[in-house]
Symmetry: C2
Subunit: 107 residues, 2 copies
Amino acid sequence: MTVTPQAAFRALADPTRRDILMMLRGQELTIAQVAENFDMTRAAVKKHLVVLRDGGMIRTRPSGRERINSIDPAGMAPVLDWLTAFDLFWDDRLAALRQAIEEEDKK
Amino acid sequence: MTVTPQAAFRALADPTRRDILMMLRGQELTIAQVAENFDMTRAAVKKHLVVLRDGGMIRTRPSGRERINSIDPAGMAPVLDWLTAFDLFWDDRLAALRQAIEEEDKK
DNA sequence: CACACGTGATACCTTTTGGTTTCACGTATG
DNA sequence: CATACGTGAAACCAAAAGGTATCACGTGTG
Protein backbone atom coordinates (compact mmCIF):
# COMPACT_ATOMS: atom_id res chain seq x y z
CA MET A 1 0.00 0.00 0.00
CA THR A 2 2.21 2.71 -1.29
CA VAL A 3 0.91 6.08 -0.26
CA THR A 4 0.92 8.48 -3.17
CA PRO A 5 1.91 12.09 -2.50
CA GLN A 6 -1.50 13.04 -3.83
CA ALA A 7 -3.26 11.01 -1.12
CA ALA A 8 -1.12 12.68 1.52
CA PHE A 9 -1.77 16.20 0.26
CA ARG A 10 -5.44 15.45 -0.09
CA ALA A 11 -5.57 14.24 3.50
CA LEU A 12 -4.21 17.57 4.68
CA ALA A 13 -6.50 19.65 2.49
CA ASP A 14 -9.50 19.52 4.82
CA PRO A 15 -9.55 21.59 8.05
CA THR A 16 -11.46 18.90 9.95
CA ARG A 17 -8.81 16.34 9.05
CA ARG A 18 -6.01 18.64 10.13
CA ASP A 19 -7.84 19.14 13.42
CA ILE A 20 -8.14 15.39 13.84
CA LEU A 21 -4.41 15.03 13.32
CA MET A 22 -3.72 17.70 15.92
CA MET A 23 -6.11 15.94 18.25
CA LEU A 24 -4.33 12.65 17.75
CA ARG A 25 -0.94 14.21 18.28
CA GLY A 26 -0.62 13.23 21.90
CA GLN A 27 -3.24 10.55 22.37
CA GLU A 28 -4.86 7.57 20.73
CA LEU A 29 -8.61 7.83 20.21
CA THR A 30 -11.49 5.66 19.05
CA ILE A 31 -13.61 6.96 16.23
CA ALA A 32 -16.40 7.75 18.69
CA GLN A 33 -14.03 9.77 20.85
CA VAL A 34 -12.83 11.73 17.85
CA ALA A 35 -16.41 12.34 16.79
CA GLU A 36 -17.28 13.79 20.19
CA ASN A 37 -15.14 16.81 19.37
CA PHE A 38 -16.95 17.70 16.18
CA ASP A 39 -20.39 18.91 15.28
CA MET A 40 -21.00 16.17 12.76
CA THR A 41 -22.07 12.55 12.74
CA ARG A 42 -19.79 9.68 13.58
CA ALA A 43 -20.15 8.45 10.01
CA ALA A 44 -18.75 11.70 8.64
CA VAL A 45 -15.80 11.53 11.00
CA LYS A 46 -15.27 7.94 9.96
CA LYS A 47 -14.94 9.04 6.35
CA HIS A 48 -12.33 11.59 7.31
CA LEU A 49 -10.42 8.91 9.17
CA VAL A 50 -10.48 6.74 6.05
CA VAL A 51 -9.04 9.59 3.99
CA LEU A 52 -6.37 10.18 6.62
CA ARG A 53 -5.56 6.50 6.58
CA ASP A 54 -5.37 6.43 2.78
CA GLY A 55 -2.99 9.34 3.04
CA GLY A 56 -0.81 7.36 5.40
CA MET A 57 -1.34 9.85 8.20
CA ILE A 58 -2.91 7.52 10.76
CA ARG A 59 -3.08 3.86 11.66
CA THR A 60 -6.08 1.97 13.01
CA ARG A 61 -5.77 -0.91 15.41
CA PRO A 62 -8.74 -3.04 16.49
CA SER A 63 -9.31 -3.53 20.19
CA GLY A 64 -12.39 -5.56 20.98
CA ARG A 65 -15.31 -3.85 19.36
CA GLU A 66 -13.46 -0.57 19.19
CA ARG A 67 -10.95 0.79 16.66
CA ILE A 68 -8.12 2.80 18.04
CA ASN A 69 -6.67 5.50 15.82
CA SER A 70 -3.15 6.80 16.17
CA ILE A 71 -0.81 8.98 14.17
CA ASP A 72 1.57 7.39 11.71
CA PRO A 73 4.78 9.39 12.12
CA ALA A 74 5.98 8.34 8.67
CA GLY A 75 2.86 9.65 6.99
CA MET A 76 4.10 13.19 6.62
CA ALA A 77 7.20 12.08 4.74
CA PRO A 78 5.79 12.45 1.18
CA VAL A 79 4.69 15.98 2.00
CA LEU A 80 8.03 16.85 3.53
CA ASP A 81 9.79 15.33 0.55
CA TRP A 82 7.83 17.45 -1.85
CA LEU A 83 8.45 20.58 0.15
CA THR A 84 12.13 19.79 0.22
CA ALA A 85 12.21 19.25 -3.52
CA PHE A 86 10.41 22.52 -3.94
CA ASP A 87 13.17 24.08 -1.89
CA LEU A 88 12.84 27.71 -2.85
CA PHE A 89 11.34 28.95 0.40
CA TRP A 90 13.30 26.21 2.01
CA ASP A 91 16.48 28.24 1.74
CA ASP A 92 15.20 30.88 4.13
CA ARG A 93 13.84 28.37 6.56
CA LEU A 94 17.01 26.35 6.41
CA ALA A 95 19.10 29.42 7.02
CA ALA A 96 17.01 30.37 10.02
CA LEU A 97 17.11 26.84 11.30
CA ARG A 98 20.83 26.55 10.82
CA GLN A 99 21.36 29.74 12.73
CA ALA A 100 19.10 28.62 15.55
CA ILE A 101 20.92 25.34 15.86
CA GLU A 102 24.34 26.95 15.79
CA GLU A 103 23.28 29.41 18.43
CA GLU A 104 22.10 26.60 20.62
CA ASP A 105 25.31 24.68 20.16
CA LYS A 106 27.32 27.59 21.49
CA LYS A 107 25.78 27.20 24.92
CA MET B 1 -5.46 40.07 2.07
CA THR B 2 -4.50 37.63 4.77
CA VAL B 3 -3.87 34.17 3.43
CA THR B 4 -5.61 31.55 5.52
CA PRO B 5 -3.85 28.24 6.14
CA GLN B 6 -6.83 26.61 4.48
CA ALA B 7 -6.23 28.51 1.25
CA ALA B 8 -2.60 27.46 1.31
CA PHE B 9 -3.35 23.79 1.91
CA ARG B 10 -6.06 23.86 -0.70
CA ALA B 11 -3.63 25.32 -3.21
CA LEU B 12 -1.29 22.38 -2.68
CA ALA B 13 -4.02 19.76 -2.84
CA ASP B 14 -4.16 19.54 -6.62
CA PRO B 15 -1.37 17.81 -8.57
CA THR B 16 -1.61 20.24 -11.48
CA ARG B 17 -1.08 23.14 -9.10
CA ARG B 18 1.92 21.46 -7.49
CA ASP B 19 3.35 20.92 -10.97
CA ILE B 20 2.83 24.58 -11.76
CA LEU B 21 4.71 25.54 -8.62
CA MET B 22 7.58 23.25 -9.57
CA MET B 23 7.54 24.75 -13.05
CA LEU B 24 7.71 28.26 -11.61
CA ARG B 25 10.51 27.35 -9.26
CA GLY B 26 13.30 28.68 -11.44
CA GLN B 27 11.52 30.89 -13.95
CA GLU B 28 8.74 33.38 -14.35
CA LEU B 29 6.04 32.44 -16.84
CA THR B 30 2.97 33.97 -18.45
CA ILE B 31 -0.27 32.09 -18.12
CA ALA B 32 -0.03 31.03 -21.77
CA GLN B 33 3.46 29.65 -21.19
CA VAL B 34 2.28 27.68 -18.20
CA ALA B 35 -0.68 26.37 -20.16
CA GLU B 36 1.62 25.07 -22.91
CA ASN B 37 2.87 22.43 -20.53
CA PHE B 38 -0.54 20.96 -19.76
CA ASP B 39 -3.15 19.09 -21.69
CA MET B 40 -5.94 21.47 -20.76
CA THR B 41 -7.27 24.82 -21.83
CA ARG B 42 -5.71 28.11 -20.87
CA ALA B 43 -8.86 28.96 -18.93
CA ALA B 44 -8.43 25.90 -16.74
CA VAL B 45 -4.81 26.78 -16.04
CA LYS B 46 -5.91 30.32 -15.27
CA LYS B 47 -8.25 28.98 -12.60
CA HIS B 48 -5.41 27.03 -11.03
CA LEU B 49 -3.29 30.16 -11.00
CA VAL B 50 -6.06 32.02 -9.19
CA VAL B 51 -6.24 29.32 -6.55
CA LEU B 52 -2.46 29.42 -6.18
CA ARG B 53 -2.62 33.17 -5.84
CA ASP B 54 -5.40 32.98 -3.25
CA GLY B 55 -3.21 30.53 -1.37
CA GLY B 56 -0.38 33.04 -1.40
CA MET B 57 1.85 30.73 -3.42
CA ILE B 58 2.40 32.96 -6.44
CA ARG B 59 2.34 36.60 -7.44
CA THR B 60 1.15 38.04 -10.74
CA ARG B 61 2.66 41.12 -12.28
CA PRO B 62 1.25 42.78 -15.40
CA SER B 63 3.61 43.45 -18.26
CA GLY B 64 1.93 45.00 -21.25
CA ARG B 65 -0.84 42.69 -22.29
CA GLU B 66 0.76 39.76 -20.53
CA ARG B 67 0.67 38.67 -16.89
CA ILE B 68 3.83 37.27 -15.46
CA ASN B 69 3.52 34.70 -12.72
CA SER B 70 6.22 34.07 -10.17
CA ILE B 71 6.55 32.18 -6.94
CA ASP B 72 5.92 33.96 -3.67
CA PRO B 73 8.58 32.59 -1.33
CA ALA B 74 6.54 33.54 1.72
CA GLY B 75 3.54 31.59 0.55
CA MET B 76 4.64 28.31 2.01
CA ALA B 77 4.95 29.78 5.50
CA PRO B 78 1.45 28.89 6.75
CA VAL B 79 1.99 25.29 5.67
CA LEU B 80 5.39 25.14 7.29
CA ASP B 81 3.98 26.70 10.43
CA TRP B 82 1.28 24.09 10.65
CA LEU B 83 3.74 21.27 10.09
CA THR B 84 5.98 22.70 12.77
CA ALA B 85 3.08 22.95 15.20
CA PHE B 86 2.22 19.39 14.36
CA ASP B 87 5.78 18.53 15.26
CA LEU B 88 5.56 14.81 15.83
CA PHE B 89 7.35 13.69 12.69
CA TRP B 90 9.33 16.88 12.99
CA ASP B 91 11.55 15.40 15.65
CA ASP B 92 13.12 12.93 13.27
CA ARG B 93 13.55 15.44 10.50
CA LEU B 94 14.97 17.98 12.86
CA ALA B 95 17.39 15.47 14.28
CA ALA B 96 18.58 14.49 10.82
CA LEU B 97 18.83 18.09 9.79
CA ARG B 98 20.73 19.06 12.90
CA GLN B 99 23.18 16.26 12.34
CA ALA B 100 23.68 17.22 8.71
CA ILE B 101 24.35 20.81 9.62
CA GLU B 102 26.73 19.90 12.41
CA GLU B 103 28.60 17.56 10.10
CA GLU B 104 28.95 20.28 7.56
CA ASP B 105 30.20 22.74 10.14
CA LYS B 106 33.06 20.43 11.07
CA LYS B 107 34.61 20.88 7.65
C1' DC C 1 -7.17 52.95 -37.46
C1' DA C 2 -7.87 48.08 -37.96
C1' DC C 3 -6.83 43.90 -36.15
C1' DA C 4 -4.37 40.12 -33.89
C1' DC C 5 -3.11 38.68 -29.34
C1' DG C 6 -3.09 37.68 -24.31
C1' DT C 7 -5.99 37.80 -20.78
C1' DG C 8 -10.39 38.15 -17.61
C1' DA C 9 -14.83 36.62 -16.81
C1' DT C 10 -18.97 34.13 -17.23
C1' DA C 11 -22.15 30.34 -18.09
C1' DC C 12 -22.38 25.66 -18.14
C1' DC C 13 -21.35 20.62 -17.36
C1' DT C 14 -19.55 16.46 -14.86
C1' DT C 15 -17.19 14.45 -11.09
C1' DT C 16 -15.63 14.70 -6.34
C1' DT C 17 -16.30 15.77 -1.83
C1' DG C 18 -18.33 16.35 2.65
C1' DG C 19 -22.25 15.41 4.87
C1' DT C 20 -26.59 12.67 6.38
C1' DT C 21 -29.55 8.56 7.25
C1' DT C 22 -30.12 3.87 7.68
C1' DC C 23 -29.04 -0.87 8.34
C1' DA C 24 -26.07 -4.93 8.98
C1' DC C 25 -22.51 -7.12 11.85
C1' DG C 26 -19.24 -8.46 15.41
C1' DT C 27 -18.37 -7.85 20.37
C1' DA C 28 -19.31 -7.10 25.29
C1' DT C 29 -22.43 -7.80 29.08
C1' DG C 30 -26.76 -8.28 31.83
C1' DC D 1 -29.01 -16.02 25.19
C1' DA D 2 -30.71 -11.48 24.63
C1' DT D 3 -29.43 -7.11 23.97
C1' DA D 4 -26.85 -2.84 24.00
C1' DC D 5 -22.80 -0.88 21.90
C1' DG D 6 -19.14 0.47 18.51
C1' DT D 7 -18.27 0.13 14.09
C1' DG D 8 -18.55 -0.73 8.69
C1' DA D 9 -20.91 0.11 4.67
C1' DA D 10 -24.19 1.65 1.40
C1' DA D 11 -27.62 4.88 -0.61
C1' DC D 12 -28.45 9.37 -1.12
C1' DC D 13 -27.92 14.62 -1.38
C1' DA D 14 -26.06 19.43 -1.90
C1' DA D 15 -22.15 21.98 -2.68
C1' DA D 16 -17.54 22.50 -4.33
C1' DA D 17 -14.05 21.50 -7.71
C1' DG D 18 -12.05 20.87 -12.20
C1' DG D 19 -12.91 21.32 -16.76
C1' DT D 20 -14.88 23.39 -21.33
C1' DA D 21 -16.60 26.92 -24.58
C1' DT D 22 -17.47 31.60 -25.39
C1' DC D 23 -17.29 36.50 -25.30
C1' DA D 24 -15.66 41.00 -23.75
C1' DC D 25 -11.65 44.00 -23.13
C1' DG D 26 -7.14 46.22 -22.99
C1' DT D 27 -2.66 46.18 -25.48
C1' DG D 28 0.57 45.80 -29.22
C1' DT D 29 1.33 46.06 -34.28
C1' DG D 30 0.61 46.26 -39.46
